[in-house]
Symmetry: C2
Subunit: 204 residues, 2 copies
DNA sequence: GCATGAAAATGAACGTTGTTCAATAATAAA
DNA sequence: TTTATTATTGAACAACGTTCATTTTCATGC
């Protein structure tokens, strides 16, 4: 029965990842404790460190799963024959919906910090590329003359804009907007951006 | 010599606040340690807890100073006779400049979390109101028909949009834009928003 | 099957946090 | 000066993440 070691280890890794994801969604990333994970998956405290280097690495892998789910949800939100403006609206609202439905996992993406001086690994940065591409595609129609680099930069700006509105509304830090208003505002922002891009097209 | 007690206490409080602010700006809010503060101001560890309830309260007061400085910088950035569109641009660029020049203090505003379930005190929420008002004023000219509530909501949305772009660019989490491009992009976003608001005026 | 070496699992122990509190020192009042 | 408050002190505590000598489990060669 060869490979039993790897199988068990892989299985433990999956269970740890799942437990961490559930704890984060339930209590936020700051509520994630090594001892809680160990107890939940039924292994010793030290066992965690045989499948992940430390909690930071584990959290990065939770993020990885979250990003995959965001990608799915965004891709599924845009109808086939949507215009650029409709696409912006669908993407923005789908992003908001994911954040609302998976608040703590989504918040963890942005509120978790690596130790001072540690940069996120390349595979994690690469996984975020789809966001920019999803926006750059319709944008290239709205900005026919722009080169790919300019498109990528502008797409990141647009993502930042929508993300910012969702972000300060879902954080408890600021006085919030009611969920219904929030949807209207995100939709309004998507429209404003689409109109604004059309209007400033030649100013780029 | 009456009042010596209060004087000393007030003085300690100020020194603690200053030390905390300096440490945060130097090492980020996660680099703030009670023992470091105590050593720097030359008091015992327990002394900190005679002037602030805990580190969270201390950090909130650091935020307070940061917000005051942001308000100053934003108010000073808008020329007297600026049009709404010019105002948006000045405010957005001033916000970016503050974030770039005071990175860790600015980041601390958004990355520091209160313990689960604890809401920010009212005086802290109230201190953020100027941001909305600064934006709502020019917006009221660009959206002549809108009522004060709608203006406030839309102003928050616009702040969120600009904040989001600054935010994801200055975090190390995402692949960044070079500072020069960033300024261009924030200015471009301000213009896009101004144009978009004008174009969607009747759709509100 | 059994013995042997390698790998994984264990959990007590360590270092570093924020916070507390009995003991001490300093100040105001008498 | 004496006495009663009040502030300051820093050792001690609890809760973390992480490590590592020890034990247990598994794969391999006879």
């Amino acid at each position: 029965m060869a490979g039993k070691r790897e199988t068990k280890k892989e299985e433990l890794r999956e269970r740890v990842l799942k437990a961490a994801s559930e704890i984060i969604e339930a209590h936020g990333v700051s509520g994630l404790r090594a001892r809680d994970i160990a107890e939940r998956v039924g292994c010793a405290l030290g066992g965690l460190y045989t499948v992940f280097a430390d909690l930071d690495e584990l959290i990065l892998h939770v993020h990885s799963g979250t990003l995959k789910r965001i990608e799915e949800q965004l891709r599924g939100s845009v109808p086939e024959a949507a215009t650029p403006r409709e696409t912006f609206r669908h993407l923005a609202l789908a992003y908001l919906a994911f954040a609302q439905d998976n608040r703590n996992l989504w918040k963890a993406l942005f509120e978790h910090r690596l130790p001072e001086g540690a940069a996120p690994p390349d595979w994690h940065l690469a996984q975020q590329a789809f966001l920019i591409q999803l926006i750059a595609a319709p944008l290239s129609i709205a900005m026919p003359g722009a080169n790919p680099d300019a498109l990528a930069i502008r797409a990141r700006t647009l993502f930042g804009a929508v993300h910012g509105v969702v972000s300060i509304s879902l954080e408890d830090r600021f006085t919030g907007i009611t969920p219904g208003h929030l949807e209207d505002e995100v939709a309004a922002l998507a429209d404003i951006l689409a109109e604004g891009i059309a209007a400033t097209r030649d100013a780029v």
